[in-house]
Amino acid sequence: MPCLEIRGLTVDFGGIHALKEVSLSARTGQIVGLIGPNGAGKSTLLNCISGLTRPTEGEGRLDGTDLFSLSPHAISRLGVGRVFQHPEIMADMTVMDNLLIARNRFLKYGVLAELLGLPQVRRQEAESRFAAEQVLMRIGLPDIGGIHAGSLPYGHRKLLEVGRSLLLGATVLLLDEPVAGLNEHEIDRMATLLAELRTGGGLAVILVEHNMGLVSRLCDEVVVLDIGKVIARGTPTEVLNDPAVLLAYLGEG
């Protein structure tokens, strides 16, 4: 049974089709690659799933729940995690704070309890911190909870964003070029983490990426977009040898 299902998604920006009748689904335990030249509509598709862009037409469901009528925070509270192309972190706060921010959906206390520092607040904080420590180990960055996130190297910031989605309790993870701007070593680290997450289960991943090595290594299925339309789908090998795909990427000739 598909976890995330998008059908007939069309997005018009002032008469221009950013996306035209795109369908896509991802099951738990699956990594679906989403590739295509710049401007193909990959980020627009992720933005629709995140609730940041309202589709003109189409249907999006997460385990049966209609996504397209919900606000971004309601969607993320259903377990949709998003890793941005450029890490969105709180630079002058600690790594720990940057992780704990994702626990908002689990908080069971109100502002008054926070002001008064009630025991239930402290207890939940301690639980969240424990969960965050586990996540830091999982993303291979133990013992950095106390340092300022702004002092992290770029690659670590990207890992931190993945960790944040895990702490959100994501069952669907939307990754927008997670290895863009990373060096070989960092790319390998990210790839290993994503592979581990797949085996760990519980997660369906949509991976937007230009690095074809990573796409072939990780993806179970690849969907190719060009000018808002799906031009190919299949296994990485099938897709990367498809003449239509090569044409879209390399141009004619």
Binding site: H73, S76, R82, E88, D92, I101, A102, R105, L107, V121
Partner: protein
């Protein structure tokens, strides 16, 4: 070396603590009054810092919240005869509700556009106080009775000082609590990126409303204390100049920090007093000092303290 640093830090804290706790016993009336003002503006700065420093929403209308606190407290004391333990919290609660409404423009507007909308809020409050003469006394102002609780009347400057000190300590403690937990972090995330905050399960609208309400609460409590301290209020004083003063305090002290809020208030109230001796030009020197602080300490006084501390 680290030990020496720790000792110095502790000594400074103990010294400041002693001075603050014992001030009315060895200072004359005026310095005690000035320190009381520091406490009041410290509370305002904490409140405004939640909104601007933490949640990233500018306000040029905070004199409005301060006025609401002052007038609500004054009227509850004068007309309803309530003790200060009721009048102050009730003024805070009322301003919390007003804050939630004042947050509505912030759900659509940003930055300079929001600044103008909040400016409008401040003007509306001030005009209402002027025009609603039957309640507020209008431009003639309002005399405020001394705060009382049963038979106890806080009639001296020393009494007021300790009431304000108690509220400042409580308010600072509560502010540190919230800054360190879920809402504090959520407000910062809203400031950093509304898009990312939304994708992390944070309702941007909810936390903007919380930031405005919380800010209104602190500012109104401070306004209530102010009316008890000065014992006479007039709509004229709650003007745009006051709102800008509040904003300057948190920028000078350090945006997004609680200790910085207090330091900003200390600077803003005490620096003009220090420069008072300079013949003919206290305003000029104070104005220049603002420029110097901002140029040399871009992260405000608290950021500068942090830098000194790390370097020592």
């Amino acid at each position: 070396m680290a030990d020496a640093k720790k000792h110095t830090g502790r000594a400074v804290v103990v010294l400041v603590g002693l001075v603050v706790l014992t001030a009315p016993f060895w200072m004359s009336g005026y310095p005690v009054y000035v320190l009381s003002l520091v406490g009041i503006f410290g509370l305002v700065a904490i409140g405004l810092n939640f909104l601007t420093g933490y949640a990233g929403q500018i306000s040029l209308g905070h004199a409005g919240f301060f006025a609401i606190g002052a007038y609500t407290t004054a009227l509850l004391t004068k007309k309803a005869g309530l003790p200060f333990v009721l009048s102050l919290p009730l003024a805070g609660v009322f301003a919390t509700a007003v804050g939630a409404v004042a947050a509505l423009p912030a759900l659509r507007l940003k930055n300079l556009y929001l600044a103008i909308a909040t400016l409008g809020f401040g003007v509306v409050v001030q005009k209402l106080l002027f025009e609603w003469q039957s309640l507020t006394g209008g431009g003639a102002g309002l005399e405020v009775p001394a705060p009382r609780l049963g038979p106890i009347v806080l009639s001296t400057a020393g009494h007021m000082y300790y009431l304000i000190l108690a509220v400042v300590i409580l308010g600072t403690w509560a502010a540190l609590n919230i800054a360190r937990t879920g809402s504090g972090r959520a407000m910062v995330m809203v400031r950093e990126s509304e898009v990312a905050a939304g994708c992390l399960g944070i309702s941007v609208a909810k936390y903007k409303v919380i930031a405005f309400s919380l800010s209104g609460f602190y500012t109104a409590i401070a306004g209530g204390l102010y009316c008890y301290l000065v014992r006479y209020i007039n709509p004229e004083s709650f003007n745009i100049h006051m709102s800008i003063t509040f904003l300057s305090m948190i920028v000078i002290g350090g945006l997004g920090t609680i200790p910085g809020s207090l330091l900003g208030a200390v600077f803003y109230v005490l620096a003009p007093e220090l420069f008072r001796g300079i013949k003919d030009a206290p305003g000029l020197v104070f104005g220049l000092s603002l420029v110097v602080v901002m140029v040399l300490m871009p992260k405000g006084l608290w950021g500068f303290v942090g830098r000194l501390w790390r370097r020592a």
